[in-house]
Amino acid sequence: MKRKFPLLTAVNTLIYLFIMAPLLVIVISSFNPGEYLVFPPEGFSLKWYEAVLTGGKYTEPFWNSIKLAVATTAVALPVGTMAAYAIQRFEFRFKQALLSLFLSPLVIPTLLFGIGLLIFFSSLGVQMFFMRLLLAHIVLIVPYVIRTMLAGFSRMERSVEEASIVLGASPVRTFFLVTLPLARPSLLASAFLSLVLSFDELVIALFLTGPGITTLPMTIYSDIQFNLSPSLAAISSIIIAGTVLVGLIGILMTKRSGRT
């Protein structure tokens, strides 16, 4: 196809610029050597990266967020995969209703869910803040896992599993020997989504957190409001780079394992 739509190309270039602009601005201003966040930067320095990476206030929230993302994925992935498999492979009553229920956290505003949980946990007197966040994140992430795994399972030929059973593997062994290996691209995609979404989640954290537990998005959120600084730009740039990197790795792995 030759350039048939010069106007479209020009307009779209501007839109791509619009998409990239805020990310570029953050990355560029993170190199400013001065104490204040200015754009364009008045020099080039990596000192804020050094400051952020060699300790400081972002370290603990960062590890909290990582712990939360990993724990969420560790629970949401098997739970969602099991539910998706049941919905895809078995016939039973109320299946559609159950599926809608499982996906409903995608429809109900997170904000409402946050208040509901805050009220709920307070009335129960649950004080374990990490546990509160973890449970909430699992509920938010499981629908994404189910959706991704449903698509994966539906692309898979049922007969391949049947072949395994007829050849003498029990249904449970078949699930581990055939189904899961074949679902690998979807599993990777689910894990990736889960890690990123859980790591980035802010609203639920604002409602449910308590003393001692701060996640990285919360720290960044509060710094944006009260403490704009080049080190904020530096930690944001690191997250941007990390997300892009994890995203690219995820895509490459999904593509490669999808091929064989």
Binding site: E162, I165, V166, V178
Partner: protein, 363 residues
């Protein structure tokens, strides 16, 4: 004693009966086809034998062992799928070895048995390939090897050839028969393709609406179909309703729509119900240009119709000729071998068809 005995097998989904009171006995080493249109219950029957569906009632016995409630992975029944169903994440070798491992065959023995099975389908040189790197025909042969390596007494075939092109289908059909002689399994072959059923099986069970409507050798099914459905489903046919039926000594006389008078043998001993349909196989019919001078003289022992040539399809080895006959709402078709003699039928011209009275089948 028969090897596989199916008794009063019934499968219902809610109020919908998919398989009704099926009774089949298959001899050891026999190949039985279940033939019928989609939705006739043949696949459901096969899946009940494999254990993928559980029957509503009835029983399935293999070598005197009650299979009905044995879970599918403990049945030792082979199943070959339409879409091959190879494990895409395993090599050909691993695919064939899969069942052996599940059956606890010792490691040292696996390699020899896998290669043996691959050799019998001429694929030993491709053992390290992945299924995606092979043609459809090769994949299906791997699937055969994967099934046969376990030496199952019974192998079920679920339309295994229908994803292949015509030539390959024929070749693989012959190969399956050869493998059956080599391994000695009993086979059940599900298909909707009557030609495939005829070439591959010792016996055919024609199914319709969840029942077996006729069971017999391919010759019996083709030459003596039990009812209009079988006549129509198996092979090409001219099938017409008949009226004004009169019995005569050893014959029926009746009229086709349009008032054409025909005769058929009344093979039954004693009084039988008058037929409602007549059927003539297209290849039993002789067709020629209507001689301009000839009168309407009927040859003794033959039926005769006059029509106008509506189409002529040349297929190389034969011609398929369709005639418009007054009163009939479908073409009267004739299959004529290409005898290399001069072919003198012309579109739109009148032609005479004749066939021996005993070639008129009635139901």
């Amino acid at each position: 004693m028969s090897q596989l005995i199916i008794q009063d097998l019934v499968k219902q989904y809610g109020s919908n009966t998919v398989v009704q009171n099926l009774n089949i006995a298959v001899e050891s080493g026999e190949m039985l086809s279940l033939l019928g249109p989609s939705g006739c219950g043949k696949t459901t029957t096969l899946r009940m034998i494999a254990g993928m569906h559980s029957p509503t009632s009835g029983s399935i016995q293999l070598d005197g062992r009650e299979l009905t409630h044995v879970p599918p992975h403990k049945r030792d029944v082979g199943l070959v799928f339409q879409n091959y169903a190879l494990f895409p994440h395993l090599t050909v070798f691993e695919n064939v070895a899969f069942g052996l491992k599940r059956h606890g065959v010792p490691k040292g023995e696996i390699k020899g048995r896998v290669m043996g099975a691959l050799e019998s389908v001429q694929l030993a040189n491709l053992a390290e390939r992945y299924p995606a790197q092979m043609s459809g025909g090769q994949q299906q042969r791997v699937a055969l090897a994967r099934t046969l390596v376990l030496k199952p007494p019974l192998v079920l075939f679920d339309e295994p050839l229908s994803n292949l092109d015509a030539k390959l289908r024929q070749a693989l059909g012959i190969e399956i028969r050869a493998l059956q002689r080599e391994y000695g399994f009993t086979g059940i072959f599900v298909t909707h393709d009557q030609e495939e059923a005829m070439t591959i099986s010792d016996r055919i069970a024609v199914m319709n609406g969840g029942r077996i409507v006729q069971m017999g050798t391919p010759q019996e099914i083709y030459m003596h179909p039990a009812d209009p459905f079988v006549a129509d489903f198996v092979g090409e046919s001219n099938l017409f309703p008949v009226s004004a039926v009169q019995p005569a000594a050893g014959y029926w006389r009746f009229e086709l729509p349009g008032g054409h008078r025909l005769s058929a043998e009344n093979a039954g001993n004693g009084p039988s119900a008058p037929p409602a349909h007549a059927m003539i196989r297209p290849e039993a019919v002789l067709v020629q240009r209507q001689p301009q001078d000839a009168g309407d003289t009927e040859r003794q022992g033959y039926n005769r119709l006059i029509g106008e040539v509506a189409f002529i399809n040349y297929t190389g080895s034969s011609y398929l000729i369709g005639l418009n006959v007054k009163g009939l709402d479908s073409h009267f078709i004739v299959r004529m071998q290409n005898t290399r003699k001069q072919f003198d039928l012309r579109l739109g011209e009148a032609a005479v068809v004749e066939w021996p009275i005993h070639e008129t089948l009635t139901f």
